[in-house]
Symmetry: C2
Subunit: 310 residues, 2 copies
Amino acid sequence: MDEFARIAEFFAPLAGEAGLGLRDDAAVLTPPPGRQLVLTVDQMLEGVHFLPGDDPALIARKLLRRNLSDLAAMGAVPFGYLLTTALPPSLPEGWLASFAAGLGRDQRQFEISLLGGDSSSSRTDIALTATLLGHAAPGQALRRNGAKAGDEIWVTGTIGDAVLGLEARRGLRADPTGFLTRRSLLPDPRVGLSLAGIVNAAVDVSDGLVQDLGHICQESGLSAVVQADLVPASPEAAAQGPDILALRLTGGDDYELVLAVPPEKSEALRVACAGVNVTKIGMFKAGRGVELYGANNALLNFAASGWKHF
Amino acid sequence: MDEFARIAEFFAPLAGEAGLGLRDDAAVLTPPPGRQLVLTVDQMLEGVHFLPGDDPALIARKLLRRNLSDLAAMGAVPFGYLLTTALPPSLPEGWLASFAAGLGRDQRQFEISLLGGDSSSSRTDIALTATLLGHAAPGQALRRNGAKAGDEIWVTGTIGDAVLGLEARRGLRADPTGFLTRRSLLPDPRVGLSLAGIVNAAVDVSDGLVQDLGHICQESGLSAVVQADLVPASPEAAAQGPDILALRLTGGDDYELVLAVPPEKSEALRVACAGVNVTKIGMFKAGRGVELYGANNALLNFAASGWKHF
């Protein structure tokens, strides 16, 4: 099947109106009136972000969800995406059909459509990128640089499941319910929360809580004081025993949000996040860097602050 | 040098205002008022679109220019781009500095800026993508489906240089002036021409003249009749001898424009393209497919209609 047949069979059915059926040189769209555009791009690479035998539908959905999480961290409403695929000649039979089915499933769930793309061969590894478009009210996008001293630090969901799930997938730890594995393979981006006017700064946990919280500190010129025992763990993570705190706080791929919230807005935050658990884990103060305190108020010090891609 | 240091040193200096210094989760931009957005994405892969030892600055510039050509084919004005890089651990010293310098040079030439991106490691090959954003007046973007029977077929520049240059780079043919090689490495996207109201349909020559012209035929429900001897050759291509016609007409990577122009608009086309040579090569008529005629009016038939990426 050649490039054009592949596009017609697998990708054209995913195209929204602005994608022009994927039959032109580019997409044409009318921006939502009175809104700003929010744009982000992320890639998924074989051997780096996924393993060669992973389910193509889950790879597709995680590709979209990692980008959707970036839009969530900006408080933006997603509406479409562009996609590139670089696929080796040895691609397993059925891979593309499964990959496209995964895209279609999450398109429906998150109400986005395919706007355009490019497909090519690669020599050996699969390489995928998605550019996500969203919109936000003018001046309302959530930045990393808006935190104020005295703001509380809140996180959505539970922290550390994904890195434990990655270890489970590598056979390094038990995951009897499959919950941790699922959290590693299929994150839940926190799109759809109405955080504008409540949250002063936000970031998503992609590289690890400590490192990503550090981005807010750096951009806002503040220090973050975190009570490590307040950082929410799922029951499945807690069941792994007491020695995983450093791993949970520095492991990446959770795609939860870290939020800077003025104390008087904490109730509004709970209302805005109805259906998504939110937990206060600390506070911003003058200074720099992230300080982590244990249950006995001892300062904790981890060797690595999070994932870096070299 | 880790990911954040690389971004700060090489990419942050390329960021436009909407890129927020590449220090947030996404870019935020206000669309040009009253304009539609035009978006396209293309990739450059080591071993597929460039050779391992190629000049990183030229790779960067061709990555931008392939995308700029797609915007030109839509009649759009480019204004920014997002970039992903997947780079192996074995990247040569100085590669990124040269790559970023190439981006910067073409940013200035084409008046675009970097809006965002993602950088990652790869296992072996370099993989690069750029998502280009442009804008056009509402309803004025040039489509492939607008050609009318009786429209003339015009092309910009010269056709077939890039495939000859590729062969020269592979040692298969002489290129004493280096012109053909340069056309292969560094195309000139035809942005900045005011074609709205003159041109009924457009496409850029990326996969080969016959194949790309065939896209207009298919989308417009027409046939194209081309006088092959009218298809303009550069002096350097003509010097390669008479046996290269099929190669020139089916080789890709020229990034010239193929235009459907009503006969009464041909003078307006020349004015709009001042500084860029345009040549009439045939006409659209009822029917389907591309018909090529030689100097003696014999129907030509080529084995391959153009590049396909498998």
